[in-house]
Amino acid sequence: MLHLKHISLGYKIPLRVAALVIVTASVLASVLVYRSIGNLRDNMIANADSLGHLIADTLIEPILHDDVWRAFEIISIPLSIPQDKARDQGAEYILVLDASNKVFVSTQPDRFPILSDPITIEPGLSPIVKNPPELHAQVPVIIETRQLSSFYLATAIQSDGVRLGTLIVSYSKEPFEKRFYSLTQSAILITLLVLAVLLPFGVYWARKMAAPLLQLSETMNRIAPNLPEASEIELEETKDEIGQLAKSFKTMLAELKGKEQLQQQIIISDRLAAIGRLTAGVAHEINNPLGGMLNAISTYKRHGVQDPLTLKTLSILERGLQQIKETVAALLVETKTQTRPFDLNDVTDICTLVQSDMSGKQVSFTCDIDIVDAQPLSSTLVRQIIINLLLNAVHATQWQGCVRLHIWCDNSNLFIDVFNDGSYIPKEKISYLFEPFTSLNQGGNGLGLWVIYQIVQQLGGVITVQSDPDETRFIIQLPLQETHE
């Protein structure tokens, strides 16, 4: 069974607001009906009481004179006044009992014949007959029970402190009930009208109130497995508590995101560092015997037997070993070489060097250099970085694509920004991008970025990769080395 507390706030808040509106409207309507009925009843009793006293006083003489007809005429007057039966609370009948509680006269002689016992005719009257009203009662005696279809108002008829009889005015509950029903009906109608106006408003506001909570909850549900992007979060930052919550939540998400990225970077750089250590170790171990082998071949070529077959074989060996040496040298990035600082001539050289590749693909190449002086950085290494990046960019870009180089510096860093509009790097590949032999295109050996990474790493720089469709950008930040004057 669906328990209320499991229902979504999107329904629960509007439902609760609706319930509140309905309950309020109903309570108000009930109170109004109750009060109106109370007023109606009080008015009726007040009228009946004054009528009762008036008639009782007028009846004194006819009763003293035993003048039944006069008494009949007197009590007939209130009933002969034409009444609006739907609204007026006119008396149903009037009964006059003599001192011995027999019927003296009544407006319904057929029902209450003269001298008859009223209780045998209407048992509901027995409380009045058995306990007649006080001679000088301040409050009217009202007999009303749920069983009776009428209620009775009793007044003592007295002269000089002697009870002459009792006046009983009977009021039918029917017009009273009709009035009650018509009042209730109109109250219900008004309530429904009010509800028709208030409910949509209430539900609208309630939905509006629930909406940020629902959004928040929905966004929270999206945290696992992947943190949603900041742009995907549609939370309004208002000044109220929910707005504050949304703001805190956004901050938390941003922090989580940062932490996740950091973790990712650490993992990547740890891995790259491990690979670097491994390759360096392997390269050293290979380099020592390799040098010996190449020396041996060289010595044999110079002093050994000049047999053509042997020489050919040795050449093949020497070329193979030379290729191993180059590969190992590529893996082992050496940054300790002392060269001249990087300056604008280097940039010109680079442009000349990559020109043939650019024109091969008809790439539009823009070069944007914001440095004037020589920078205290190894020109060999920076050149290698820029050439590798530019060649990669040319490879990545489309036919007649666009490649842009931007170099600038601030007080402590040199920035190299290489842009291309080619195919972008899928997200899942970015973390493996700088590992050796990870080639994105068919032609390369997958060492270009590895070399860049090693150089930047050793120079203490940072590589940032932004890859979106039609825009891939490598930004290298290299700290300027302190110049030793």
Binding site: D66, D67, V68, W69, F72, I114
Partner: protein, 274 residues
């Protein structure tokens, strides 16, 4: 000189007492009849109405009224003090009945005997048809109304006896037959709720009488106007409203049967009284 005196002092008005022997609760009709009489008599006429026969009779005896239309019963009791002026003609006779009526719902009652121990309505203790005749009937059987019936009351008007019976307030009542008949024409919805059980023998119709102090000239003048009413259009219309055929001079002997009943009942009253 005489002519001047007549002009200077207007004739003093004729005061005529009315009782509910007719339907005296029609103010518009009474105004018309008064204007007619004033015109014919060439002097002011005042109708005087009181709550009971006795009050009108007392006024007449004391000379505070010149004339009065009263029941035959008070007339024969004051026959020496009052002069008979005229007797109306009802169905061309100066006679009428007393009716015993019961509610229309009561289909069983066939005589006064069935009403023993019931509530009974009389019109006026000084009425022949509305009291004396019924008392007389009970007296012939040795009963008194007060003990024969469980309760009796007076409505002080014949019309109201009919109303009392129609409403069921009383189970039986004595009423002037002429009034009941007239009401059955003008207010059939009222009389239809009652049923006439028995009719009495005919009695002299309630007469118009004069106080002993009234001059013969005045009596003759009124007699003339009343008896001639039937001959002029306005008078005939008024008589029609009264449901009467006219007035005749009448003979006091018309009321002998009422006088006989009165004597019988008075004797019985004395015998029964402690």
């Amino acid at each position: 000189m005489a002519a001047e005196r007549i002009l200077s002092t207007p004739p003093h008005p004729l005061r005529i007492g009315l009782t509910p022997v007719i339907l005296d609760d029609q103010a518009a009709f009474l105004n018309k009849w008064r204007d007619y009489l004033q015109h014919k008599l060439a002097r002011p006429v005042i109708f005087v109405q009181r709550g009971s026969y006795r009050e009108v009779v007392d006024l007449l005896r004391e000379g505070k009224l010149e004339f009065a239309w009263i029941c035959g019963y008070p007339y024969i009791r004051n026959i020496n003090n009052f002069r008979l002026v005229a007797v109306p003609l009802y169905h061309d006779e100066p006679l009428y009945h007393s009716y015993l009526i019961v509610p229309a719902s009561d289909t069983k009652t066939s005589s006064l005997d069935n009403l023993r121990g019931k509530v009974f309505a009389f019109s006026d203790p000084d009425s022949n048809s509305g009291y004396l005749y019924t008392e007389y009937l009970l007296s012939t059987q040795g009963f008194l109304p007060a003990t024969y019936f469980a309760k009796t009351f007076y409505t002080w008007s014949h019309r109201k006896v009919v109303e009392a019976i129609a409403s069921g307030l009383a189970q039986g009542g004595s009423v002037d037959g002429y009034v009941w008949d007239t009401l059955s024409k003008t207010h059939p919805e009222l009389t239809s709720r009652t049923r006439v059980v028995t009719e009495s023998p005919k009695f002299g119709f309630p007469p118009i009488v004069a106080s002993s102090s009234v001059s013969k000239h005045d009596i003759a003048a009124l007699q003339n106007v009343l008896t001639q009413m039937v001959h002029d259009k306005e008078g005939a219309s008024l008589l029609d409203s009264l449901n009467l055929n006219g007035f005749v001079i009448g003979n006091p002997r018309l009321f002998d049967s009422i006088a006989d009943m009165n004597r019988f009942v008075e004797k019985k009253r004395i015998n029964v009284a402690p």
